[in-house]
Amino acid sequence: MTTTLEQKGSPDLRDAFPSVVWRIRDWAQRTPDRVAMRDKDFGIWQERTSAMLWDEVLTAAHGLLSLGIRPKDVTSIHSEDRPEWVIFDFATIAINAICTGLYPTNPTAETQYLLNDAGSRVHLAEDQEQLDKVLGPGRVAFPTIERIIYVEPRGVRSIEDDRLMFWDDFMELGREHKDQNPGAVERLMLEVEPDDVMTLIYTSGTTGPPKGAMLTHRNVEVAVAHVLNDPGRFAGGKGENPADEKLTYLPLCHVAERLFSSWSFAYNGPVLNFAESIETVQVNLREVQPTIFFAVPRIWERIHAGVIIRLQDATRFKRMISGFGLKLAGYIGAQRVANSGDFTFGSRVAYAIGNPLFFRSLRERIGLRHCRYASSGAAPIAPEVLEFFMGLGIPVYELYGMTENTAVATTNLDGRVKLGTVGEPYAGIGFRIDEGTGEVQTKHDAVFQGYWKKPEATAATFTEDGWLKTGDVGVWVDGTHVKIVDRIKDIIITSGGKNISPSEIENTLKTSPFIKEAMVIGDGRKFLSALIGIEYDVVGDWALRRQISYTTYRDLTEKSEVIELIQGVVTKANGKFAHVEQVGRFKLIPKELDHEDGELTATMKLKRSAMEEMFGELVESMYS
């Protein structure tokens, strides 16, 4: 394996800028036989060593060269998380070209928009499903695409299109090119400058079409230094290292998963385990038992709801024990919340009782037995959920950032946690909250270069003195921690003139296992109302137990018992808010929200404008 590293014609890379790809090569040289990735195939986690990985990256890079990709060209990936995703991404970076990823859920129209906006020349489509999105609209719709590489050949072989190329053939092409031009890729790696654009990450576009944020090598380096390697984030002070295990399961085209998986691997070397799909996350979690785990609030909510439901379904004796365990967890959680995330004497005693009895096995069951650091980000999370996990002994820290600043803004540090805040700004970065608008602004080396081919949009994101406008309203808590109130444009001003942050109310509602989506409405209205989407499985299960028969999702939302159930949740949530912030009326959304139908973004965030348009009548009925 190591022979590829000492190929003749390969230049000395010691003085090259240590980009992520340089580091992949470095791992292969230092620890060639260490397992770098695992990928589940036919029930077995197939392993890839660092040397194998680098060999594949190098071969793919040669393949790209052979397909005519040159520095500054753009390639694209439309796939679920899998090793080929990372390999193709790294290969593109190796030849100093720019790679962008698409969400597997992106429908055809968005795919067309994204690929043309980026100007992708070589496109990697995972399987027939993703291929259809490119082949369907026809050749004219994608003027820049020259090659389409597919990884899963099933159902594709019969398609006649000279742009199509199977992954294995692509790699074969790379091997030929490598034999003929040894060192070609390495020479390009020498030319990498820190300010070269490394990747385009498209924002999810809750308003308007997605925009491609240009992130450079320097951005990534700074982001890793802060978000992954900030001292003080880990209990015990031991940072990410090759002994860590990670589960790669969120879309890699998002800045969070890229940072926590592929860049984290390049810099710190933890083993990446690729989940089979987003549906199997809970099963894969149990198998992998990651030591470091990042999840978006939706996943934490799902795990939380899953635990509560399954505990309710347990046998009587188990219910008794778990009821006691949950009480202990509640006590521990409350103690730790009050004590900046640390244990107190009382909670330590409670933990010593609860751990062998309940917590440890529960953590094993949800796959976080070995988890020493967990984080939540990318969207606001209800503090109750975090408190629950803290009580179980899983240290979950909320952090905050966005694509445009490569996720570098604030984080909760070990022993300095304030629940309900997103923590403290990283040491040494420019961070301020604008006094006039309350907007959070950042200025540091991880702030992006701008939007791809959109200078006006770029200019609009920066203040006159060069600070990045995040679009989030924040307030200081105790002078050190930051609490994000909401997106500026989402803030509701009622007809009474009161400013209300809907996301806080929505998240409190979503703490209930019965509620999947909530959208609070009230801009210019007399009182607040909410559109609520139920969690189909959980509510369906609940209905079955009460012998309420139903046929479809819509039918279920119209059952008076279900409406009563949700009313109970809403009333309980209202108790936590002041009168003006209470939800006066609500309606259940008659369909499950979907990316395809345009109600959600690719990251499963609500598109408020689309929602208001779609369910306008429903909203009006609440106010009439």
Binding site: I44, W45, E287, V288, Q289, A314, G325
Partner: protein, 425 residues
């Protein structure tokens, strides 16, 4: 992977013989008990060295070998067989003809154990393979009848082949369990006679409370059998977790579907009958040898039914279940007898269970309440042996209805209860 028992990086790990650490520890403990128990070297478990118990344990071990065979055939490959007694008899008579002493009325070649024991298995296996084609033609109840027919053919043969089986009602003596190189040579090792402690067991004396110099014949027999049983159990386990076992399971679940998948039905059934009969033959030969003398009428339908009871009570298709079933079926008569005796004494002398004893035990001819007659089977009550047969019948019914996986199923349920903690699913 350490700390991650569910993360399989290769198929080998997933189908490993002892896939988890806890299994390895359990097996190790079992081995330790198997060595120390019969030597009466275990604190609190001294009775395990008692010869009267050990004889039963030895019988159970022999039965376990035969039961492994029927479990492969019925539990794994799904072929119902009531002919197991017949195959055991074939093995036993092959052994006695090859290994037994010739007499005026019987044949015997006096060959050593390393010939007669394997030959017993091979002879039974050959007949098993010969019978197998019928299993391809008939299944279920009909196959049970066909194999039952074998038992009756066998009974007729053994009664009339006096040269092989000895006379009806008398039988003939079987060769002893001793290892000699050739006929008429002094045995190198005897597994039946009392003697000094084997040298490789001397470390036992390092335990502070143990001092052993002599070994009973039963203890030697036990060690001989326990090694054989372990070997056969591992072979059976390996058969089950590899290609042959998977093809058997496919045939069991649906033979037509198995054939559609490319599993050769006839081949699989033949293999199952052959291998199962091999186990039966070995078991039969050892059984006869351990008992010493067996009458031809012993190889009857009840013996077969006993094996059906073993796999149904223990757990069809599992190795652990085979052992649970065998030990239960072989040891329970003794336990029932002890319990009955205890109740009888209680009824007589008074005690906390005297009320139960007076209801349950019929102690004398005037006592007209009671199910079991004890100490002797006088009057209308059942004898202890009859009670056992009734008990097995009841247990077969109960297990078939309530717990098809037998005792092993109960264990499985208990294990899953804790495995799933704190959830139920």
């Amino acid at each position: 992977m350490r700390g991650r028992p569910n993360l399989y990086t290769e198929y080998k790990a997933e189908m490993g013989l002892f896939p988890s650490m806890s299994k390895k520890i359990a097996i190790g403990l079992l081995a330790l008990i198997a060595i120390l128990g019969p030597l009466a070297a275990l604190p609190f478990l001294g009775f395990a060295g008692d010869a009267s118990w050990l004889i039963l344990v030895n019988k159970a071990l022999v039965f376990a070998i035969a039961a492994l065979g029927i479990n492969l055939l019925t539990g794994v490959a799904g072929q119902v067989s009531l002919g197991h007694a017949f195959f055991m008899a074939v093995g036993a008579y092959t052994a006695v003809v090859l290994g037994g002493e010739a007499g005026n009325t019987v044949w015997g070649l006096g060959l050593p154990i390393w010939i007669w024991l394997p030959a017993a298995g091979v002879a039974a296996a050959l007949i098993g393979v010969f019978v197998a084609p019928t299993a391809v033609r008939v299944r279920g109840l009909y196959l049970a009848f066909v194999t039952l027919g074998l038992v009756f053919i066998g009974l007729y043969l053994w009664r009339n082949l006096g040269k092989i089986a000895g006379g009806p009602g008398t039988g003939r003596p079987w060769p002893e369990l001793e290892f000699a190189l050739w006929r008429n040579m002094d045995p190198l090792v005897s597994f039946t006679s009392d003697g000094p402690l084997w040298w490789w067991l001397t470390p036992v004396n390092w335990l502070p409370w143990v001092h052993i110099e002599e070994m009973d014949g039963e203890v030697k027999t036990f060690f001989f059998l326990v090694v054989l049983v372990a070997v056969f159990a591992i072979i059976a386990k390996n058969l089950m977790r590899t290609r042959i076992g998977r093809s058997w399971a496919a045939i069991r679940d649906r033979d037509i579907a198995a054939e559609v998948m490319g599993v050769a039905d006839a081949k699989g059934k033949t293999q199952a009958f052959g291998i199962s009969s091999f186990y039966a033959g070995m078991g039969g030969a050892l059984f006869a040898s351990v008992v010493g003398r067996i009458i031809p009428e012993s190889w009857d339908i009840f013996l077969s039914v006993e094996f059906v009871a073993i796999i149904l009570i223990g757990g069809a298709g599992t190795i652990v279940g085979t052992f649970l079933g065998t030990f239960f079926v072989v040891l329970s008569p003794r336990i029932v007898e002890n319990v009955t005796g205890f109740l009888a004494t209680q009824a007589e002398d008074g005690g906390p269970f005297s009320w139960l004893g007076s209801i349950f035990v019929r102690s004398s001819a005037d006592d007209w309440i009671g199910i079991v007659s004890y100490p002797d089977a006088a009057g209308p009550g059942l004898s202890v042996a009859q009670l056992n047969i009734v008990l097995f019948g009841v247990l077969i019914v109960v297990f078939l209805i309530a717990e098809p996986l037998g005792l092993y199923g109960i264990w499985l349920r208990a294990r899953n209860y804790w495995k799933g903690w704190p959830f139920t699913y």
